[in-house]
Amino acid sequence: MQVSDQNKESRTIGILALVCALLQLGIVPLFGIGDGRANLALVFAGLMAFMFGGRRGVLLAFLAGVFFDLTTTGPIGIMAFELPVMAFLLGSESRNRLIEDRTESLKEFALGSLAVGLVYGIVMLFLGQAGSLVDVVLLRVIPTFALTFVAFAAFAYFLSGGSSGGRARGPRRAGMRSGGRIRTKGL
């Protein structure tokens, strides 16, 4: 039986949101592949979807999207639209998937983030903010995807306790089901 500790969850969400926001604003501009920059709002939305899912995941993803839209120069509302959709699709199965099946979570996040990047790029193309689809894909979407995925993998590794990944088995999995939660020690 999963025992929900609301305070602990709220603290985890708050700390993760703060860390992602600080990294997005302070550190992300320093590291890029070409024009590509990691999107930590996307990372946060993915984490919330896998950790909590459901309504909370969707709402937190929406807030992350609004934050991204407000702190960048693009049109307001695009990421705020896309991230809840992604969070809904990724988080609709169950909670705690980040720990219980990290490899699968990484695969699903990869697909989701790539789709979000492509849709964002296509919208920017239609809005006249980008010149050609090839440039959008090669120079924006793929570098952004690569950096975002690396950032998500790092967060997933840290949050799941640094284990080797894959589907948890045996006592470890049993421990999760008997109340084991996302690692918050050190957060």
Partner: protein
């Protein structure tokens, strides 16, 4: 009743709200935000909120910029290390102190040189300007921008040109009270009225997705050479006339084309976090003169004439 249960079931799985309703609400709100943002243009409620967000987040960006500054000086440290590798083995501890001082002093020297360059630029072009410092780069993949530490409280506004000691780097695209976003020349949506310094041929310098600058609208009957300097033309009344932009690195004349394909290397890239000048207003002598405008007009009309002539000759040939 069953139908209602089925409907509820679509939102709940395993006793937990799957977020369907929340998703619908979020999507509607985001579409409203998007529509409002597009409709209100450069000013309005949402842009005010964005300015507020910029004010709140500026300290974090400044800290990020401060974190980057050691990396800017790192090149000097490596240079020093390789230059004195033999003596380092004997005087390691002493050298470490000296290297730290060298790095610090060379940073100070570079800062002084940049400031001197800015002053020189300001004096040379009699610019009415405000000094600012770049505190952060672009946080997303879709724009090539930097954030500076001055905003509307210092008299800055959207559209003002920004330059460093090497020349123009871009234009303010968003302005909050204490910070502003500068769209760099290399941004895909950036364009500046420019001309070749030698031939005075006028065109548009545009950024591109791959970061290169392209000078458009220069007719193929004009002379353009690799190495020619490109400066602002002053047309449009935004940029002062004659500010350096870059140097021509390649000239291509496609068969049958009216305009050259010219690639320009900017004089400055603003990749490091340095000081800049925001040009707050232009004097009359910095704006394009009526002669410049008529020269641009005549260039356009001659292009139209040559296009018409080419079309006519093509029609005649086909007949």
């Amino acid at each position: 009743m069953n139908a209602r249960n089925r409907a509820m079931g679509s939102f709940r799985r395993g006793g937990q709200d799957s977020g369907g309703r929340a998703l619908v609400i979020c999507c509607i709100v985001s579409l409203v935000l998007f529509t409002m943002g597009i409709r209100e243009g450069d000013s309005g409620l949402l842009h005010g909120v964005r300015s507020g967000a910029t004010v709140v987040t500026t300290p974090v960006r400044v800290v990020g910029g401060a974190l980057a500054s050691p990396f800017v000086g790192l090149g000097n440290v490596f240079t020093n290390l390789t230059a004195s590798q033999e003596s380092l083995s004997d005087l390691k501890s002493q050298n470490e102190e000296l290297q730290a001082k060298v790095t610090e002093l060379s940073e100070a020297e570079q800062t002084a040189t940049r400031l001197e360059g800015l002053l020189q630029l300001q004096n040379t072009y009699s610019l009415q300007s405000t000094a600012a410092r770049i505190v952060s780069g672009s946080t997303d993949s879709w724009s090539t921008t930097v954030t500076i530490d001055k905003g509307s409280a210092s008299g800055l506004a959207v559209g003002m040109p920004v330059s460093d000691s090497g020349g123009v780097i871009g234009q303010i695209s968003a302005c909050g009270p204490t910070s502003a976003t500068v769209r760099l020349l290399a941004d895909e949506n950036s364009s500046v009225s420019a001309m070749l310094q030698a031939s005075r041929a006028q065109g548009m310098l545009r950024g591109s997705a791959d970061g290169t600058l392209k000078l458009d609208m220069i007719q193929t009957d004009l002379t353009v050479n690799v190495g020619d300097t490109v400066v602002t033309s002053g047309l449009g009344g935004v940029f002062p006339k004659g500010l350096p932009l870059g140097k021509v690195t390649s000239v291509n004349k496609p068969t049958g084309a009216i305009y050259y394909e010219i690639v320009v290397q900017p004089f400055t890239t603003a990749q490091s976090y340095e000081e800049v000048l925001v040009i707050t207003s232009l004097t009359d002598d910095q704006k394009a003169t009526s002669d410049d405008m008529s020269a641009a007009d005549s260039q356009d009309s001659s292009t139209t004439a040559s296009t018409t002539s080419a079309a006519t000759s093509a029609t005649t040939t086909s007949k």
